[in-house]
Structures are given as C-alpha cells and as structure tokens.
Symmetry: D3
Subunit: 190 residues, 6 copies
C-alpha cells in the first residue's frame, strides 16, 4: 500500500516557519539524517511547536535521569496510550540509548514483561499509572520511587515526561501523525 498522509492538518513549508524553529529542525536533521514528521506537522502552529520542543529540551538537557531512562518512560507511556508516532520515533531512541534492540517492543507492549531492572520497572509503573489513572497516584507512589533511589528531581522528571507525552500522544492521535519510515530501523544494531 502507499503510505498514508502524515497528518489531518495542512503541512507548512519548512522555509516559511519562524527562523528559531527552522534552526531546531536543522539540528534535528543533522543529528538524525532526516526531519522527523512531527517537526513539520507541529509547524502548523509554530509557537505551540516551539513551546513543546522547549519543554522536551528542558527535560533532556537538564534531567538527572539518564537519556535511556527518559526514552524508556516515553515509550512505556506512549505504549499505554497506543500512540504509533511516539512508540516508533522514541522506540528508536530507546533502542539507541539503551543499547538494546529489543527494548522498545518490550516497553511498548507491556513494561511489566520488559527485560529491565526492578528500579526501572517501578519507574515505568508510576509513569503508566499517572497516564491511566491520574487520580490514583499518591504519596506511596512517590515513596516507592524514592526507595528505589530516585532523587526528588528525578521523581519530578518522571512525572513531567509522562505528562508531556500525554500531551503529545493526544496531538498525534488527533492530528493522525505518522512516523517516518527511518525510525523503524534505527538502533536495531545489525
């Protein structure tokens, strides 16, 4: 079959986007070798796109969580929300940063049967609980993370990443964003 259109909304020309966002896109193209669809699709509303990427960068740049942990959380949350774009795009990053070609499919399907440490299972448990039953999260969840050795800043960032991808999973569902083909193969390490 031919590939489906990558979104339900009009797609801007990259050259028409604000300079600041073009720079962010150039960075991404350099790093990945292609422009992830979300950058163009989100560009329908450049200021919102800018704020979203700033939020993500603010976590990635400063978080005491490792880059592997960041992507593990994103894939577990996006799997719980059945979001193809984020499972595939961040699945690639989870494979790369986790140096494990099977990690993404395990986390996206069911983090409880992923081949990860108990500490990371607790981390994903809380992320998925905050995704699926936000009102049920309580002091005991935070204490559990603390007992596994996460600092208060790490605990915050687990919640912050979870919350941010509850935003982007919904945008991807609503706008029907589809992942670039390149993501599927990245980090398989053959």
């Amino acid at each position: 079959m031919s590939e489906p259109a990558m979104t339900r909304f009009p797609v801007p020309d990259i050259d028409d986007l604000p300079e600041e966002l073009q720079e962010r896109i150039d960075n991404e193209r350099e790093r990945a070798g292609f422009v992830p669809n979300v950058f163009v699709a989100y560009g329908y509303k450049p200021k919102q796109a800018r704020a979203f990427f700033d939020y993500y960068d603010a976590i990635v740049d400063d978080s005491p969580l490792s880059r592997e942990e960041i992507e593990m959380i994103i894939v577990a949350v996006s799997g719980a929300n059945d979001c193809l774009y984020c499972v595939v795009a961040h699945g690639a990053l989870a494979r790369i940063y986790g140096e494990d070609p099977h990690l993404a499919e395990q986390l996206a399907t069911n983090h409880r049967t992923a081949n990860i440490s108990d500490q990371h299972k607790a981390m994903c448990d809380v992320a998925v609980k905050l995704t699926e039953q936000p009102t049920a999260v309580g002091d005991d969840d935070i204490e559990r993370l603390r007992e596994y050795g996460f600092s208060m800043e790490e605990v915050w960032d687990i919640a912050s990443l979870t919350s941010l991808f509850n935003l982007s999973n919904r945008m991807a569902h609503f706008a029907d964003w589809r992942p670039n083909e390149e993501f599927y193969e990245m980090g398989r390490g053959q």
Copy 2:
C-alpha cells in the same frame, strides 16, 4: 482545618527564579491581584514552567477561539480528569469570560448538562473524548466540529488545549498542587 501545603515538591523563592519567569509572574500578579500557586510550584523547574506558560500563551494570544471557549474547554477537560487545581483556577476564568457565575460548576460536573449551546457541547464532547479515549477519536469527530462551524485552526486549538491540560492535570495530581483561595470566589458576580 488548616490549609494543606500547596505541593509535594520544594517551593522556590520567587526572587530566585529566572528573570523572564519573574516577569511572567509579575504580569499575573497585576492582572489577578495575587500569584497563582501554579507559578510558584512549577518554578521548581523554571525552564519547564517557562515552556508550559509559553504553550498556554501561544494558544490564548493567537487562537481564533474566544477566551470564553478556551476556558470552557479547560474546565471540561479538568473536570473529566478530576483535577481540583485546574477546575478551581480556570473555573474562575470561565465564570469571568463567560459572564456566567454557574458555568464552571456545570462544566466541571458534566458538560452534557451544562447550560451551553449545541456548538459548545460538541466542542466539549470532543475535548472530553480526546481526554478519556484518545484512540477512539477519528475523522467523524473532526467533521462534527467542522459542521458546527469551527475552522481548522479552531479544531486544532480545541485538541491543543485538551492535550495541554492533560499535561497540567497530571502534574497537578502528581505534585498535589492546590488552588489559591481567591480563585473560588472570582467571577461569582454578586
């Protein structure tokens, strides 16, 4: 009873926050007469706070949706997510911009029995559906909004606000943010 602490995380001193965020807080204090707790609580991670408020401002400043419609969506979504902070803080704004002292309680309890137009009911229906069943949203939901006269840009912003408050509702639950007392009384118009 004495008031509960407003968050589970350390609260920064406003004077220690980055200047840009302090300005945003000053604006808010001027407009509202007090500093909403979320500004201080979110300040635990100033760059994330900055990105969140930029996202919200990007919608509020440019959206073809009216300010009343923006706050209606937020209250309906936050009610569906049982989020006290957002129901009370944005409930105040819904009363003010909607010029209706009963609007917030109606939307937060059940938008289907709110005293609003059929167009606004459709708008809240889609916002609540994207909140509770994101995978079930489809072309028919977008068509329904279009038939009620919403432009594609408005349709995007309905989804964008819904997604943004699925982020903030989760942060508020996780960090246990509590609304300032002032919000409860604003816009009651007696």
Copy 3:
C-alpha cells in the same frame, strides 16, 4: 442562554399533589425560601416521591452522623456520578453545614484532594468505592471505617446515603433534572 427546562417529564401543579407531599414542600419552601426543583419534578409520581423523601428524612432525622458528614457523602457520591442536580443542591448544604465555602467544589471534583480530615477521607473513600465498584467492597472497608471511630450505625448510614444517592443521581440523569439557580450561591458566606 435561556435556562433549560428542568426535566424531560411533565411537571405537576403543586396544588394537585397529595396533601402530605404538599406539606413536605411547604416545609422546604419555608426553610430554603424556594421550592427545590426535585420536589416538583419527582411529583410526577407522588408516592415514589414520598418514599424517596421519607428515606432521606429517615437518615437525616436519626443518623449519628453529623449533618455536615451527611452532605459530604452526598456530594462526593454525586460528584463521582457526575450528577449536576445533586452536586449543586447538596453542595449548597455541604457549604452551609460544613461552614466552609470551598468544601462542595473540593468534594465534587475529587474528595482525595479535599481539605478534610483523614477520617472524613476514609468515609468518602468507601462511599465512592461503593458507588463505582460495588462488588469490590468488603470486610476491610468496614474495618477501616471502624478503626477511624465510626460506629456500626454510622457505617450503615454511610452505605445507606451512598445507595440512596445512587438512586437519585440516576433519576436526575434520566429525567434531566436541573438545579434551581438559588442553590449555586447559598453558603458562600460573603
């Protein structure tokens, strides 16, 4: 917008109602200064109305629970069931008997983040659990209430009020009852 009709069913003339029910309505008018819509709407079937108010009065008149506790349970249950009529009408009573202008919105949105004692949180926990997952209620729930100091008669009345408003919340949804405007402002104490 104009106010919606207060029910999907025909509304009887108060003068045509059985005398006993008219007296009950007169009492209510005297106490509140107006006739709550439910009295007239329920009057479509006067004997059923009479039985419902008798049940409510049987609890209110004799219960070892305080009047504040009674209304707290009703608002928490009605919030869980998204019932506008009962949230607004009994929210007014919760504000008045609880002498707390913020109590109703807190309980209706999410009793877990209400500014109430641990004892009252346990009370609302059980009421909401019996509402949402009746088969899951067990000996441990009753023991928990007992440990918080509730007598067996109080435990019964917590369940009885919860059950009664699972009746009336459904009637209000089905018949589309709407609260009188007066309720929204009562007990705000400005």
Copy 4:
C-alpha cells in the same frame, strides 16, 4: 458447607420492629410462605426499610408496566451489578410472573441473549445502560423506548426501578445480604 450469616449487621427480632413493618412482613410471609431475609436485615433501620418497601410498593401497585416486566428489569439490573440477593430473590419472581423457568438465568447472565421480545430487550438495554453508564443516557434512549410503544409513565418506571435497585444492590453488597434458600427453587415449575 454451612450457610453463611445473612448480613454483616445485627439482625433485629421481628417482634421488636415497628408495627407497620411487622404487618408488611406478615403480608410477605403469607404470600411467599417464608420471610425474605431482606425484611429482617433491613429492619436494622426500620424507617429506612419502611421507605424502601414503600418505594417498591409504589411502583408495583400503580405501574402500567406488567409485573413480569417489573421483575425482568430488576433481574437485568441486579445481574449487571452482580448482586446475588436480588438476582436470586427477584429471579424467582421473574420466573413466576414470566411463567418461564429459564428467564431469570438468561436475564441475570446477559439480557442480550435472553429469549425475550425486541421490546423487552430495548427495555433492559436502557435499564442496564442507566446502571452502568448513567451519564451516557440521553434523549435517544427515551425515544427508543417510546418507539417500542412504552408510554411516558412506563418510561419513568423503567428508570425508577433501575434506580431503586441500584440502591438495594449496593445495600446488599455492603451489608452482605444472602438470599433465603427457598428462592432458588421457586417458579421452576416442575
């Protein structure tokens, strides 16, 4: 195994109950040949018991619904709520009034596969929907019942019975009421 106690609460002596309730119990004993456990168990709070039986009698005595239809609704609702007492006690009545020894098990298990008319399937559909998703009930449900020939009074009573047994199913779960053995065999017609 020995039979379990019939309730978690103290059981009053019938002779100590208010006279009016004793009469109601005498009637029941005469009709059925034994005293249904609910009459004694509910007697822990005689005024509440009185109001409950008055509500039920108010429907049974005056409803344009047939007695068979009344018991069909009760069994479908109680099955949806997994309530043993009401499934067994009213299942007996459904068998008797429906003159069908298989009706109760069919309705309690799944009214959609019961051997009943399309009109009665619609009736049970609405009763179960009001039980499980009260906020989702709308004008279309009432219209559907009307199209199947139910009068407005019948429509009300379908909702009223559903609501009443959402009360009693919860009391039975909470107090752990168990049905008398006699009910299991009644109406099997061998």
Copy 5:
C-alpha cells in the same frame, strides 16, 4: 416465545461430521441423554471442534483438580464474561459435581458471595482476574494459590481452564450459541 436459532452459522448434519467427532458426540449423548448444542454448532469446523474438545478432555482426564473444582472455575469465568451458553451448560455440571443445587447461580452471579471455601474463593479470584485483567496477574497470585495448598499442576490447570473458556465464551458470543433447555434443570436435585 419460540426458541431462538442456536447459532449464527450453518449447522452441519451430525452424520456428515468426521467419524472421530461423531464418536465424541455419541459419548456425550449417552452420558447426558441429549447432544449439547455446542457439539453440533462447533461442527461447522470439525477440526477446530476436535481440538477444542481434546483440550477440555486433556484437562478433565488428567487434572489433579477435582471435577467439582473444574466446573466451578468454568462457571465463575463464564459468569464474568456474561456467556449464557457456558453458564447454563457448565452450571448444570457444577450443580451435579458440587452436589449443590445453588452453586451455579452463586458462582455465575458473583463468586465472592458464593457459599464456598476460602480456598475455592482464592481459586475463583485468580480465574476471574486472569479473565478480566490478564496483564495484572503476577507472582503474588500464584503464591496465594500455593499458600492455599494448590500444587503447581493445579495452579497451571486453573489458568488453563480459565484460558480455554475465554476462548469458548468468545466463540459462544460471536456465533450466538444457545444452551439446550435440558441443562437448565439438571442437578437441581428435587
């Protein structure tokens, strides 16, 4: 009303079925006095039917679980899945092997209020949990069964029966299989 057709699919003539399946049906006819509808209805695909009955026979013939326990599990699972065929057909077997005319209705309605031992309650708890929330089953569930004295082989068979009837309950729903009238009365012991 006339009885509904027993399936949505064509019904084969028993004489046209493979010999091996005809023998299995003959056995059943001898034992029960009639041919259970499932044998004929499943015969639309004889090899699948053969495999299904082989699976069931493999458990029944070799399991360290008693025949009563086997049928208890099936009825509890089929009740949780609202499957009329299996509730009625295996309900008859539960009554017979359990020598208890009330057992089937208790288990099908709500195994938590069935008059069974704590050991059998734990057994049904796990069966129903594996039915309704398969991802939530974990080591603690297996340990709980072990503590109640079940061997590892029994634990496996509890899961295996549960899984097998999650297959057949779905076939019965999809193909709309209806139980033979004879099942309703078997094992009532009058």
Copy 6:
C-alpha cells in the same frame, strides 16, 4: 541484563515429550531454525499443548483467510491484550507473510493507525472488539465483515483466531512466557 527465565513453570526436556509433540517441534525447528519457547513451555502439559497446536494448525491449514491475514489478526489481538510473547513471535510472521517490515509494530500498537486496507481494518476492528468487549459483538459486526467481502467461513475464522489467542495470551501472561530473541529480527528484510 541477563535474559529472564522463559516461564514460571518447570520446563520439560524435549526428549521426554510424547513422540507426536516431538515431531511437531521438529517441524517447527526445521522451518524456523530454532524451537520457539512456547513449544517447550507448553510441554509441561503435553496433551494440552497438542490440542492447542492442533487448533492453530486446523485454522492455518484450512482457512480461506490468507496467511498474512491470520497473523494480522493474531498481532492485533495480542497487542490489545499486551502479550509480549505473541506480539513478538507472531509479529515476526506478520512481517514475513505481509512482506512488510513495519506491519507488526503498527498492528500491535494500534491497528487503527496501521497502514492496511479498510477491509483489513474492519477485520482487526472486530477481532479487537471480540477481545475487549465480547458481549458487545452483534449481528452488525458480522454484516460489516460480510460487506467487506469476507465469506462466512472467513468470518468464523476471524472469530476463531481471536478466541484462540485470547486463550494463549492468557497462558503467556500467567506462565510468564518470553519470546526467543530470534523472533525480534525475523522479517525485517534488510
């Protein structure tokens, strides 16, 4: 991390298995180049294993559905049930028979956003509905499949595969079966 054990139950020695099952395993080893873990793990109860593989073979050998369609259904169902073993093992087969390296991740995450035909989307819709809401499946679902051109035999096999993997997904969860590493890479076609 080291790989987790592949099951919670004792693993038999292949040489101790009944001859017929050993042959089936030899076939599989020849075809795939390795023995899928499920064959050994299921061997704890060889007769049950035999019946399960007979059921699967009965569909695969005779079904008018294509082999690609068969594996698509299995992956969509197993994704809905969050079953790692079946998603990974049958995901490999879906990639191979579908000649599409991205098909498995799309179907397992969310068949609604998979790059498949409308006919196959309808097929997966019904399979997932029968998995998640078996009581809600009705005549309209079967008619929809028929309108998309599926024969009655194909419709049956869609249901039969769905039901069979609702069995095996539960066994995999309960026994904690883990997929062989080889499956992850099969059919990626680089």
